[in-house]
Symmetry: C2
Subunit: 155 residues, 2 copies
DNA sequence: TATTGTTATACTCTATAACTATA
DNA sequence: TATAGTTATAGAGTATAACAATA
């Protein structure tokens, strides 16, 4: 590439792409678009289970941390804890989650999955896994490993 | 890999990961998270320009197609055209976009950037490009090319 | 005083149905 | 009758400030 450096100064400047946006913009655009489409695809497959992405996200966080406070869930999900109240309320009403007052600090609510919640989470993970398989289907096993490593490097 | 196929049947089954979620779920999760974070990061750098992501998206689509109808913009962005009205209204009020009745089909609105809109779009692309550079900064040139190709294969 | 959870409010985006004007 | 744009409405997500209970 850069076949014809007309001057030394010109050669030092990254070659501007002739057709499209620069490579890093292409990557960012693809990441945003693929990520967004996958998020809504997951929403679609979760819908028959009566699960919205945010609810699924909370249940996953609770399962991963097992025993987090509401503030910790919010921090892990990158949203303000006040935005979790309604979601946790609804999950609790459905019997999938429960709040327990932390005995050592009675301001905190420890959140835990119920057995029914654990079952529902397993179902959600199953359909999400199938959707993830379809997403990565065009890639070979080697390419999948490459992609995962590259994404991990960015994240 | 799959070093110890205990039986023929076991060897035919993909090795379940011991620690975390399967690879395709890792990829999907990383894609959704990175994509979402980048989207909100772009929103943050666009905010000082008085541009929201959706407005920036519309202006980009108009620049790419140059002369699209509102329905075509919606199709390209994957949203219902009714969800574009308010956005185009606002961009038109600011003098960055204009609607022109299509003479050959007076139902259609041709949307076009004004000179001021083109300037604003250039500014937006500039800050978005800088943000994309930061996103891909951890990667080498070779890795960036790999990542772009892998993402293109998925998309 | 500071922190946890809660409530209330506002704003953006999305989805849907009904309306109009053109075809 | 079909299509392009528009309007109105409702729901979900997010952000912010103020408040009560607890530390």
């Amino acid at each position: 590439m850069t076949k014809k450096p007309e001057t030394a100064a010109a050669a030092a400047i990254p070659v501007p792409p002739r057709d499209g946006p620069p490579e890093e913009v292409q990557i960012a655009t693809l990441l945003a678009r693929i990520g967004g489409l996958h998020t809504s695809a997951v929403a679609t497959v979760l819908a028959p289970l009566d699960l919205r992405p945010k609810q699924f996200g909370v249940m996953n966080m609770v399962a991963l941390a097992d025993g987090p406070s509401q503030g910790e869930i919010g921090a892990a999900m990158g949203i303000d804890p006040s935005g979790l109240i309604a979601t946790i309320d609804e999950l609790e009403q459905r019997g999938w989650l429960e709040r327990r007052r932390d005995p050592s600090d009675r301001r905190r609510n420890i959140v835990a999955l119920t057995p029914a919640g654990r079952t529902k989470l397993t179902e959600g993970r199953e359909v999400a896994r199938r959707r993830a398989q379809e997403l990565t289907a065009p890639l070979s096993a080697k390419e999948r490993r490459q992609l995962r490593d590259l994404l991990a490097k960015i994240a």
